[in-house]
Symmetry: C2
Amino acid sequence: MRIGVLGTGMVGQALSEKLSQSGHEVVIGTRDVDAALSRTDPPRPGLVSFAEWHGANPGIAVGTFAQAAAHGEILFNATAGNASIDALNAAGPDNLADKILIDVANPLDFSAGFPPTLTVANTDSLAEQLQRAFPQAKVVKTLNTINASVMVDPGAVNGGEHHVFVSGDDAGAKAEVTKHLRDWFGWRHVIDLGDITTARGTEMYLALWIRLLGPVGTSTFNVHIVR
Amino acid sequence: MRIGVLGTGMVGQALSEKLSQSGHEVVIGTRDVDAALSRTDPPRPGLVSFAEWHGANPGIAVGTFAQAAAHGEILFNATAGNASIDALNAAGPDNLADKILIDVANPLDFSAGFPPTLTVANTDSLAEQLQRAFPQAKVVKTLNTINASVMVDPGAVNGGEHHVFVSGDDAGAKAEVTKHLRDWFGWRHVIDLGDITTARGTEMYLALWIRLLGPVGTSTFNVHIVR
């Protein structure tokens, strides 16, 4: 399948790598291709620079947001939440039209340090903002409740016995994304929360997730809903 | 132990009943004792009226907020979140002084229907508001992430394999509450999130919890943190 991944951070890299390894044709999109490829400093100690990552993943094309969006039959928004509207405007509304946009971003605001607050919460959500701004896209919120490694390899946590959620207004799009989550990444437990407003629930959960990092001692964890 | 439970709703009833059955001396507090005892209509179909509940639990004394707070060596805030400050003012700051106040309330606003929003979120929390308003109390936020029946009987869900959280500024108070959670109710997995500001995490999680009710099909569930 032709897949466009918007965002070249850890999440965009992890998604692109996994999808490319599975045989999909992936274009990873960024604002400025030359600038992205000239980043030879790792973003954080222990990570690799985008240039080094790209060198190790030559099968993944790097393009502008618009090129990645035009390429993809289905799209991922893996940009920073506070930059997502701008990134999708750069991608071009026409390139989003009638496509599923899998929104994995969180509207985190680190401007006051750690832990971040949310730029939008409680009476609205990033996913709703995106759906309103780009009504021709079929926005499905999912995967925003775990770190990048768990997104693409749920089996590495508790044998895959834990949950991910989908929110969206288009039932067919949610069903397709649910199938992709299983086939592409191995997600066995997907809970459909309802329409796009239910993304408030998973985005606000980040306030707990981020505070669990210390006590749990790793970001490679998730919640298993038990009865 | 002498325990004061503020709030006569489902949560206050469940806590009082369990604690009384375990031999603790419980006073359940309400704004107006006569009004509470004259409530003979069930609050919702399937529930019992407060008068009927009290008739079935004669060992639990009913008092004013002030009487319950004066009685308790340790206190529970089980009032509605949007009424908690008023209830605790009625309880009297002197009756809270140097006591652990276990805050199990959530700042839910149902004024626009279901699902509720939060009256405070993101940059503040109910627990912080209470700690600021009553600095002599040792506020420990916990148990606000599950329904009343799970609070007092975690073993009924997945054999007790799931998590509850504590937030608070006083390490000794959190340790004592953690012990009580185990001894009184059977909680085996208690995660200390940190200071009272971490209550933002568990209160904001309610936005997800409330949207899981439909898909999960019951309120008797919880999250098990898995790695």
